[in-house]
Amino acid sequence: MKRRMFLKGAAAAGAAVGIGFDMSRARAEMRQFKIARTTETRSICPYCAVACGVIIHTLGDKAKNVRPTVVHVEGDPDAPTNRGTLCPKGATLKYDIDNPNRILTPKVRRPGSDHWEEISWDEAVQGIARHIKSTRDRTFVAKNAKGQTVNRTPGLAVVGGCTDTNEFNFLQWKFISALGVAYRDSQARV
């Protein structure tokens, strides 16, 4: 008999007869240590600008046939600022990564419509590119009212949040520069 079963039986027996049952020879039943064999990935919390170091524990050993799912997120004890600690938002990052409310497919809402339609990435990208080009070509201002060369596209605006990477920000600035966007701002302003 497995020890677990033995304990179960013992408890039931104890309850049934209602007398103290000496457990002195048994050890305690304990929960399995759930991150014993997880893969650890160092990351940075995406919320506030303290930028705590976190360790993301994912299931599996990165073998090809394993789909890594997040099982736990904990503070990185080496990170000088947070030294392993986290706030409640950081302590629940697992539920941000593995969140039932994540959107999973590109969608479009057509003019005048009251609902979303799912579309493919190709359709979305081509549709957006066409909008961008036609808006840029239509509204491009090569020279301002004073005759100075300004090469800007007032018809386009780009705004961005501040929880994306530096590298994305730089790519986005290249994108903005390529389109001549002057109306651009970010969470940093507000």
């Binding site: 506030c48 938002k89 990208v125 990477t165 994108f175 940093a188």
Partner: protein, 816 residues
């Protein structure tokens, strides 16, 4: 932050004002607690609400929202009147001895140079007095000259007596004096104090001046540049610093280079306008580091346009979009709403298409109804995010926000599923300027793609269209470099290398020795050139990815100074320096003010300690400590701001009282109001209650209301109301209350508390209330709530154009 999070442990006094770090930066706040435990440091909290930060403070003082300048000027006055300031520091490291020109004056609430027609100042009225021949600044090292900035400051703050502070701020005099005593205890070499602030200062029509007043106080106390000191912005988002560094806002290119304006028609004109002139003046000449501006700019253009950038074509300068006027946040929606804008004297279209990544304009506000109606006029909108955010579904926003019916909205809206933080590598720059690399843990779910792939796909598709079809100035589109191993999904390590910069051709030192072969990564921005031989995506970040590898990915935990600098952990811009202006941590001879907490020290040959904020081998006395300022010293008097060289108390745009200092100029004379039919402003007779907005520990902006584990902690919107006011209005704890401003009205659960109190302002009773901003109409239906910014006005700071979220007027009533 001039310093860093860990450095706060070195402070003797921590003044928290305009911020609430225990709630909004808990893991950074640990170093305040550490200072309290190990140094018996004093935590001073000045806040309208008795917050969770206040709950562990040594001294707490209440203040009316938006009146921080009066309080800070009161502290400055106290320091100057009592002599509790660091005089030697002021003499050698600040503009205290600098003499101001004769045109400067301040009278009846207005500085000299005011143009009432334009509601603007002519800042030339505030210039230093310069020698007519040499143009050098004039100084009086004794700081007795009546026109030196120290004496002018003294005169300016004379009016801010403890009684006046009480009259304006509502802070009882004894509580103000207690704060003053503790804060000014650091005005010497032995002690040091820090100031930490956040959006409670930036989001006012006088936000920059609040920070200026704090900086002035810290300079007087000799606390800037020192471990445990500084003026420390606790920034809100994980990469808000990186976004600002990397051209996130319209007025900046990367590294705080200026976006070119229409009149700067060629590179030469641009560089002349933007590169500050060195004016040699006593006591010390300045490095004027910005004199290297052309190197930064040419290297940036070389990076942006690659081979297409040549000396002959001004490195591609003409392809950069030029701005005429203001394109910042509020103007984007104003022009979008009105469908056109006035630029350089002519009319141009407003935005017709908007792309937003990881951002929720409908929630962010202010003036939600205006934003929703502006979006309704777009031809197309692209929203890249992890969750379905309010912006993506603005077309079906609840009717109370005043948007048109969805059938009337012609906008085509694309919602693109993007990656979360764990699903991509890349770096974030924290508040302490540390670029920290993170590694990817797993793939994005479903069909979601990384943000960089989504952006790259759109870019490449647009570029293809221009290649095939031509169009408006195709060169602008086609010449932007995009040389990644996988152009569709750029490797972020490759991008960080671009940001760092490389040698385009062999780079030689002055003796002709090759220091970098063509293609090699640069060691730092000191190697940048203005002849096209180097490229660099962001000069201040240079050094982050050298031939030694990705320094943002470094994880060394050593702390050789014991002061929490951790030089081998990640990379701190600029140049891995951990404390800005650290030259000021030492005296004229280069000896640390406090040998137990040295920033840097001169060892006879070199500066040692932190990476020095000065040439490593320049002996004490050669250069001033503030190398980025043309005058080489910290500014007690700031001639460059748009609303005055000294901070002055003005009421918010929606003013709760007439300004007791100058009733004719109640609010800042240079703040802008908007004039669409959605831009209405309330008056105190209709809206007698002062209101502010804030954030909660348990929630993150408009993001975490999609996470039910956090909704559990803060299940919904509430309004914090002082007990006495609630009683007057018949509102009980847990019942529902309604708050109405000139722009909208929202309802929520009343949280009746003694942590907010009635204030006596200028002899009158003034109430203030507040509410957190985390909810919206998306997310779990059990946890939806009103958009707080429905109530906030289109008002802003005249320097940063940051909206005034933190002080506005409302009416409060029991909800029926």
């Amino acid at each position: 932050m001039t310093n860093g999070w860990v450095d706060i442990k070195n402070a003797d006094v921590i003044l928290v004002m305009g911020g609430n770090p225990a709630e909004n930066h808990p893991c950074g706040f640990k170093w305040t607690v550490e200072a309290k435990r190990t140094r018996n440091a004093k935590l001073v909290v000045v806040d309208p609400r008795f917050t969770r930060t206040a709950s562990v403070a040594d001294v707490y003082a209440p203040i009316r929202p938006g009146t921080d300048i009066a309080f800070l000027n009161g502290l400055i006055r106290y320091a100057l009147q009592t002599g509790r300031y660091h005089e030697e520091y002021v003499r050698i490291h600040t503009s205290g001895p600098y003499i101001v020109g004769d045109k400067y004056a301040f009278e009846d609430g207005l500085f000299s140079g005011f143009d009432p027609a334009q509601a603007e100042y002519d800042k030339s009225a505030w210039a230093y007095r310069a020698d007519p021949k040499t143009k050098a600044y004039q100084v009086d090292p004794t700081m007795k000259h009546p026109r030196c900035t120290l004496q002018l400051l003294k005169k300016h703050v004379e009016r801010y007596t403890p009684e006046m502070v009480e009259r304006i701020c509502g802070t009882p005099k004894d509580q103000f004096l207690k704060v003053a005593e503790v804060v000014t205890s650091t005005g010497n070499a032995q002690r040091v104090g820090t100031i930490t602030y956040a959006l409670g200062w930036t989001q006012h029509s006088v936000g920059v001046q609040m920070i200026r007043a704090a900086a002035t106080l810290q300079l007087l106390l000799g606390n800037v540049g020192r471990p445990g000191g500084g003026v420390n912005a606790m920034r809100g988002h994980s990469n808000i610093q990186g976004s600002t560094d990397l051209a996130g806002v319209f007025d900046n290119l990367t590294g705080y280079l200026a976006t070119p304006r229409g009149e700067l028609t060629d590179l030469k004109t641009y560089l002349k306008a933007e590169t500050p002139t060195t004016l040699n003046g006593a006591p010390w000449p300045t490095m004027n580091y910005w004199s290297n501006y052309p190197k930064f700019m040419v290297s940036l253009l070389k990076e942006l346009y690659g081979d297409a950038a040549t000396k002959e074509n001004d490195w591609g300068y003409q392809w950069l979009a030029k701005v005429d006027g203001n394109y910042s946040w509020l103007y984007i929606y104003d022009d979008m709403y009105r469908g056109s804008s006035q630029r350089a004297g002519g009319t141009e279209p407003g935005p017709e298409g908007l792309l937003t990544f990881g951002f929720n304009p409908v929630g962010v506000g202010p003036n939600t109804s205006k934003i929703i109606n502006a979006l309704s006029k777009l031809k197309f909108l692209v929203v890249g995010d992890n969750y379905q955010i309010e912006t993506a579904t603005f077309w079906k926003a609840p009717k109370e926000y005043g948007g048109p019916d969805s059938s009337q909205i012609k906008t085509e809206v694309f919602q693109l599923p993007c990656s979360g933080f764990a699903e991509t590598d890349g770096s974030f720059t924290n508040s302490a300027r540390w670029l920290q690399w993170k590694w990817k843990a797993l793939d994005p779910p479903g069909q979601a793609k990384t943000d960089q792939e989504v952006l790259a796909r759109i870019f490449l598709a647009v570029r293809d269209l221009y290649r095939k079809e031509g169009g408006a100035l195709p060169e602008q589109v086609l010449n932007v470099s995009w040389n990644y191993t996988d152009p569709v999904n750029p490797d972020l390590g490759e991008v960080l290398k671009e940001i760092n910069g490389k040698a385009v051709t062999d780079l030689k030192d002055k003796d002709g020795k090759v220091i970098k072969r063509a293609g090699q990564q640069l060691d730092g921005f000191s190697q940048l050139q203005d002849d096209g031989s180097t490229s660099c995506g962001c000069w201040i970040h240079s050094g982050v990815y050298t031939e030694a590898g990705n320094n943002a990915a470094r994880r060394g935990t050593q702390d050789p100074t014991g002061l929490g600098m951790h030089p081998d952990w990640a990379f701190s811009w600029p140049a891995n320096r951990r404390i800005l202006y650290n030259r000021a941590s030492a005296d004229a001879q280069g000896r640390p003010w406090d040998p137990t907490r040295p920033g840097i020290a001169w060892n006879g040959k070199l500066w040692v300690g932190d990476v020095p904020d000065i040439l490593p081998n320049s002996p004490p006395g050669q250069y001033g400590a503030f190398i980025m300022n043309p005058e080489g010293v910290g500014r007690l008097f700031t001639p460059s701001l748009n609303d005055g060289p000294f901070a002055e108390h003005y009421e918010a745009t929606e003013a709760a009282i007439e300004n007791p200092l100058h009733p004719k100029v109640t609010s800042s004379p240079v703040t802008v109001r908007f004039h669409s039919n959605k831009d209405v402003y309330g008056t105190r007779d209709q809206f007698p209650v002062v209101c502010t907005t804030y954030r909660l520990t348990e929630m993150y902006h408009y993001w975490t209301h999609h996470t039910n584990e956090l909704n559990q902690l803060q299940p919904g919107f509430f309004i914090e109301i002082p007990e006495e006011l609630a009683r007057e209005k018949g509102i009980t704890n847990g019942s529902r209350a309604r708050v109405t401003s000139a722009r909208g009205s929202i309802e929520g659960v009343a949280m009746v508390t003694r942590r907010l109190r009635q204030l006596t302002i200028d002899g009158k009773r003034v109430w203030h209330i507040g509410f957190p901003l985390h909810w919206g109409y998306e997310g779990d239906p059990k946890h939806v709530g009103p958009l707080a910014n429905f109530l906030t006005p289109s008002a802003m700071d005249p320097n940063t154009w940051t909206p005034e979220f933190k002080t506005f007027l409302v009416r409060l009533e029991k909800a029926s």
